[in-house]
Assembly symmetry: C2
Homo-oligomer: 372 residues x 2
Amino acid sequence: MTSRKPALAVVGATGAAGAVMLQILSQRADVWGEIRLLSSGPPAPSARGGGPSPHPADRGLAVRGAWTEVLPLGEDTLRGVDVAVFLAPEEVAARWAPIAAAQGAVVVDASPAFRADPDVPLVVPEVNPHAARIRPRGIVAGPGCTTLAMIVAVGALHAEFGLDELVVSAYQAASDAGQAGIAALRGQLAAVAGTELGTAPGDVRRALGDDGAEPFAAPLALNVVPWSGTPQDGGWSSEELRVRAETRRILDLPGLRVTATCVRVPVVTTHSVAVHARFERPVTVARAHEILATSPGVVLYDDPAAGDFPTPADVVGTDPTWVGRVRRGLDDERVLEFFACGDNLRKGAALNTAQIAESVAAELAAARAAPS
Amino acid sequence: MTSRKPALAVVGATGAAGAVMLQILSQRADVWGEIRLLSSGPPAPSARGGGPSPHPADRGLAVRGAWTEVLPLGEDTLRGVDVAVFLAPEEVAARWAPIAAAQGAVVVDASPAFRADPDVPLVVPEVNPHAARIRPRGIVAGPGCTTLAMIVAVGALHAEFGLDELVVSAYQAASDAGQAGIAALRGQLAAVAGTELGTAPGDVRRALGDDGAEPFAAPLALNVVPWSGTPQDGGWSSEELRVRAETRRILDLPGLRVTATCVRVPVVTTHSVAVHARFERPVTVARAHEILATSPGVVLYDDPAAGDFPTPADVVGTDPTWVGRVRRGLDDERVLEFFACGDNLRKGAALNTAQIAESVAAELAAARAAPS
Ligand SMILES: NC(=O)c1ccc[n+]([C@@H]2O[C@H](COP(=O)([O-])OP(=O)(O)OC[C@H]3O[C@@H](n4cnc5c(N)ncnc54)[C@H](OP(=O)(O)O)[C@@H]3O)[C@@H](O)[C@H]2O)c1
Ligand SMILES: NC(=O)c1ccc[n+]([C@@H]2O[C@H](COP(=O)([O-])OP(=O)(O)OC[C@H]3O[C@@H](n4cnc5c(N)ncnc54)[C@H](OP(=O)(O)O)[C@@H]3O)[C@@H](O)[C@H]2O)c1
């Protein structure tokens, strides 16, 4: 029996979700011993252009108020870690999460790499916390940020009314595409502000130039882009099929009818989702309000006549799922409509990951404390 | 029998939709005799601030290449008009359209004033052209721009498959709120460009100040706003209930199940709608593509792997309804998903109005030509 606090590695500490993870680690109860920050590591100066703005990995980052060096991800830098959270690209997680697990760490991965793996639980602590304890590969996954923008609210309503069908339309923010997405939207907005662009066909596209839309599938400033992810069978995008598959797994409803349309909007951070949910039992707005108002991780903000409904600009930087615009179907008393907003870098990525990591830390501590 | 071409009045010629109407009148076949431009009229200089930028109504506007004076709306300025199109606020139409009709004009109104009046047909020429001929009050109405962003495509699919249910989520542009909406979005974008706004809760709201959101219900730059219109029973917005009522009337399906969620996005002009449509008969993407590719007023643009899907920035300034992202429901072979974009000032307002007005003009000409 030892009282040593578990060691945490943050893989992808220099990214958009990683930066928020460092904030969250500084704000929440300090359950960690060492916190090790990992990234692709200090690159050759040529690769960075050698300009006056050094990469954060050259300097280290602040976490819990302490300057912490950022180390390159590798077998040696993963050694001695109890829990490794991955906020890194999918292919990095696919390669390195099993290595971290083989070296004894429990991995919590925010990428899509393992979300469909039946031996990797897909976990949202407010909805299916116990799933995190059964992890044959030593890996736990979190869902994508579009699912996370609505699943806590949907899960609470499902527990009461029994979910039968979901039709969701997403309004996805740019930071879903990481630091590159944030930079691209800011650059595009600077290019169109003060112009008369946005009134003739293709004028925004021409003004931004050939590669001006990158990393999006079309220009995002003064526009919305009905595409994110990669093309899949039947005209679907990978992002849309993920919302479907993730929702089914998290709610443990493998046959649930789920349809998603994923559209990017010119918002920096915070996803919104218009939800049309049909339940097995009749619903009322009053009962839905009660449930949403008392569910952990959900804030009910629903009085349009007073101007109270969630918007990304008001929700960004906060932890919960905000819900407003709750209405009962006009043609079907089992249908509920609502509008949910969630910060895609907080609950959508870093916070959900931190919550799972903390539950693993508590489990490890309990196991160590137990008489063997 | 006379060959005199009918006289047209454009009420609201100085507005956002009015400006596009003048373009359209200059571009389309010239069926009109006199074109008279009306607005609230030259105001007292004090009301305009007397600055260096005179109101267009002080100068007149170009239509069909000719400078045309803008006159104040009144009984005298409506006299001798055969067709009066109203692109003016709802309350102006409610008051003046019956006066114009009493003076012998056929009125085509783009405002919501008469859309629910059973004695006023609600017309989209591609869908229900014949309805325009039966107008007990001498008034024909066009639907709102959200309905018009999808109804031509929906109508074509309904004719083939038989519509059973619609669930739509709208991505509405700022110019839906007229010149004031365009100016507000441009001003807000100028205020946030080059800043780090959009990352802390409420920072956009604080930067824009107390009245900074007007005429929207919340700031629109770097944001989406799940509200447009006025509060109605059950938490619905007037805009959402209108999409429902208008769709039912135009398709002549009074019991159709229709649910809409209306959300504003930071786009200047062109509405988008994510459509989930259930039909009575099974659908295929191939057959839906054939129908959409051959329907007048619709452009099919659907090859996401090649980057082909409609976006507002590419559609703005064009006449048709653009449709992409066509998918068949994964759980129900009677469900079709698609994404439609339509310029809210063109087909969404001025073009639909012009089409109806032209059909009335043809009717009047035929009646005059017929032996009495
Ligand atoms: N952004 C969201 O809203 C969101 C939501 C849910 C899940 N996720 C998932 O979270 C992950 C990170 O997303 P992000 O938006 O934060 O991306 P990001 O801003 O692009 O950051 C990527 C991070 O991964 C690191 N990295 C890249 N290649 C690496 C390598 N070979 N070895 C080690 N580290 C490497 C980067 O380090 P360097 O700076 O050294 O290159 C950076 O820290 C992705 O899998 C994403 O799917 C993101
Ligand atoms: N914008 C859209 O996307 C859209 C789509 C479908 C339908 N509509 C409908 O079209 C109408 C006009 O919309 P908009 O966006 O063009 O609005 P807008 O830009 O605000 O223009 C309003 C027009 O109405 C005129 N007007 C205002 N008060 C008047 C009065 N008392 N007498 C005569 N004219 C008056 C204004 O003239 P002054 O310049 O002299 O004030 C201006 O020409 C509205 O009913 C709207 O619901 C708009």
